[in-house]
């Protein structure tokens, strides 16, 4: 029986945008298949042993917490994370977590934070925030289709020559609001700006991560299917919502002054 060994990094520091829903989804989807999922929570000062974990998760956090994590990931710990991914482990990083795994992060206050360099991306702090619903056409082989989520970030992330995006933005801003890319993929590691939480409403992406993670130690061609009717309905509803949104111009006017029915 396959056992998925999840490492949740900095759960108490990088946790403000509901990103733990991704871990809930990964665990749930293993249990529903009759498999086991174990979650280990590692934080500041805890060493990472690359061989002990099949799937790493790191969420988004506030500025101060992000600085603490950045410092903690410098050196050996970041190297261990890179080694695990090069060895085939899966990884999902969201927003602040994604930024820290790039080459560097130049904050809008002028600090130059070195990253883990797992993804060939660089992030520069902007003076406005990109906030809103997002729809992405997923470029990942074996997933395809659309991804839906919610972004809330001021960082502008640019892909380097070695970087592949997770997908193309249909609505929203994505990596930088200019080149139409969203997120980054390296081997089985994904960085993205999408909260929501991301995985519950994008079950095909959740299963892709689970499959890649388990393949490291188990012979598996594909995952047994689950009844995803509710997941797909939530995905479609979110997609309808974001595709139906018109870009907002200015403030609502008095035209809305109509009797409600």
């Amino acid at each position: 029986m396959p056992v998925l060994r999840i490492c949740h990094l900095y759960p108490e520091l990088m946790n403000i945008y509901g990103d733990r829903g991704n871990v809930i989804a990964l665990v749930g989807r293993c249990l529903w298949r009759g498999w086991e999922a174990r979650v280990v929570r590692l934080s500041l000062g805890d060493p990472i042993d690359p061989s002990l974990h099949d799937l790493f998760f790191i969420g988004g956090g506030q500025d101060r917490e992000q600085m603490m994590v950045c410092e903690d990931l410098a050196g050996e710990k970041g190297e261990a994370l890179r080694a695990a991914v090069e060895d085939g482990a899966a990884l999902l990083s969201i927003c602040g977590g994604y930024q820290l795994l790039g080459r560097r992060f130049l904050t809008c206050t002028g600090e130059d934070l070195p990253g883990v360099s797992l993804f060939d991306v660089e992030t520069v702090g902007g003076d406005t925030r990109f906030i809103g619903n997002v729809a992405v056409e997923c470029a990942l082989e074996g997933v395809g289709g659309t991804l839906v989520g919610f972004e809330n970030h001021s960082g502008r992330t640019r892909l380097g020559p070695a970087a592949r995006p997770l997908g193309r933005v249909l609505r929203g801003h994505g990596n930088n609001g200019e080149d139409g890319t969203e997120g980054c993929v390296h081997r089985h590691a994904i960085g993205t700006y999408l909260h929501g939480s991301l995985l519950p409403k994008n079950p095909r992406l959740a299963d892709w991560l689970i499959l890649q993670a388990l393949r490291r130690r188990h012979e598996l061609e594909e995952l047994p299917p689950l009844d995803d009717a509710l997941e797909e309905a939530a995905h479609r509803a979110a997609l309808r919502l974001v595709l139906g949104e018109r870009p907002r111009k200015g403030r609502p006017r008095l035209r809305r002054l109509r009797p409600s029915r």
């Binding site: 809930i24 989804a25 506030q62 509803a237 002054l257 009797p259 409600s260």
Partner: protein
Amino acid sequence: MNARLTAAVAAGKAATWLSRRLGMGAGSNFPGKVILRLHAGAPEAMAAHLPGGCVLVSGTNGKTTTSNLLAAVLRAGGRRPVHNRVGANLITGITAALAQASDLRGVPSGDLGLFEVDEATLPAAAERLRPRLVIITNLFRDQLDRYGELESLARKMDAALAALEPGARVLLNADDPLVASLGRDTRASIHYYGIEGAGDTEPGLRHAADSKHCRGCGSPLAFEAHYFGHMGRYSCPGCGLSRPMPEFLASRVELAGTAGSRVSVDTPRWSAEFSLPLPGLYNVHNLLAALGGAQLLGLDEEAVRKGVEGYSTAFGRGERIPVDGRTLFLVLSKNPTGFNEVIRTLRGEGEGLVILAALNDRIADGRDVSWIWDVDFEELAPLPRRLVATGTRAWDMALRMKYAGLEAARLEVREDLREALRAALDAAAEGETVYALATYTATLDLRRLLTRMGAAPGIWREG
């Protein structure tokens, strides 16, 4: 007489009448917009006529209940507060409340202003109204898309408190480490309220807890007792910061589910026991904030007792509405800590409940619904025999419940609120309670629907 103010107030009154006629609901923001367009300084011009000055109540949770409780106490003490009781807590709403209470010269017919203020609006409101008392209830993560992160919000509040006049007073929640850290640069006098003797504490911090680190030195705080969220009795092992000793404190609390609680209160002037008709430990905080504020404004024990015991629930904050032979228990549930406390209260109601969960993502709710993954719905999942998910994000709500462990047979999705309410009422037996947990605009929608069904009075007529 100021002609411009008169024109603005007259236009505001007309706008109020119009928006009610057109069924726009409470009509509490639109008139304010009209007035401010005609006279940008209207709120301060009207407030200047209030002999008792202004009181502002801000914070993430508990603003409405605290200010409504305080208003009830003030009225019981013979004062006449001008109050934005509908919960329209931006400058527009405060302006509309002042205009509604004013004559055409812009002179309000009250003796002091009592306004709940959106936490991001506190600096602007304090600058305009120069309050004599500011109450801050708590700061939790809420609508990160709108308010930003907690530390930046705390800095803005600090700036607002630093600008207060020396004679002003500030009443802070000692149990919230972030709130208790506010006001270090203010010239106003600072007072604290807090809970000392809560029997029903939590074993540890929840993952949705926010301010777990010392604001001064960044060390993790040590908690001697956890109440909810990051509320508790704490100290910092790093720099020695400790929780301030509250002046207004609950020395003993006995919770009784959705029915409320019995609370023993000590203040510098008197001690008393209250039957609080509001559920949860968070409402004990609201009680302490209100009675502390009342004492700082010079009200006596008798006014507090009359005000609290005669209190009828603010709309959507634990209101019980009879409909179709059933009771709808309507409780606003809008952020992780608030929702966790509502769930804790429902756990006292047993299992086999009928629950209506309404999740909207309009601007006033926050467009991002990711926060539902920070709520401990795993503790709600065993309770319902039927849960109807509704609202603009009905499917997100349903999916959250599925991953929390609620099986499909007990889960129903109805995007349309009217259909959802129907389904929930049909699932309940005669005389049974339907528990409606709703985000801010969903609470308004639900209330409007109930009014049209003839079950509840209009929002603006209540109180």
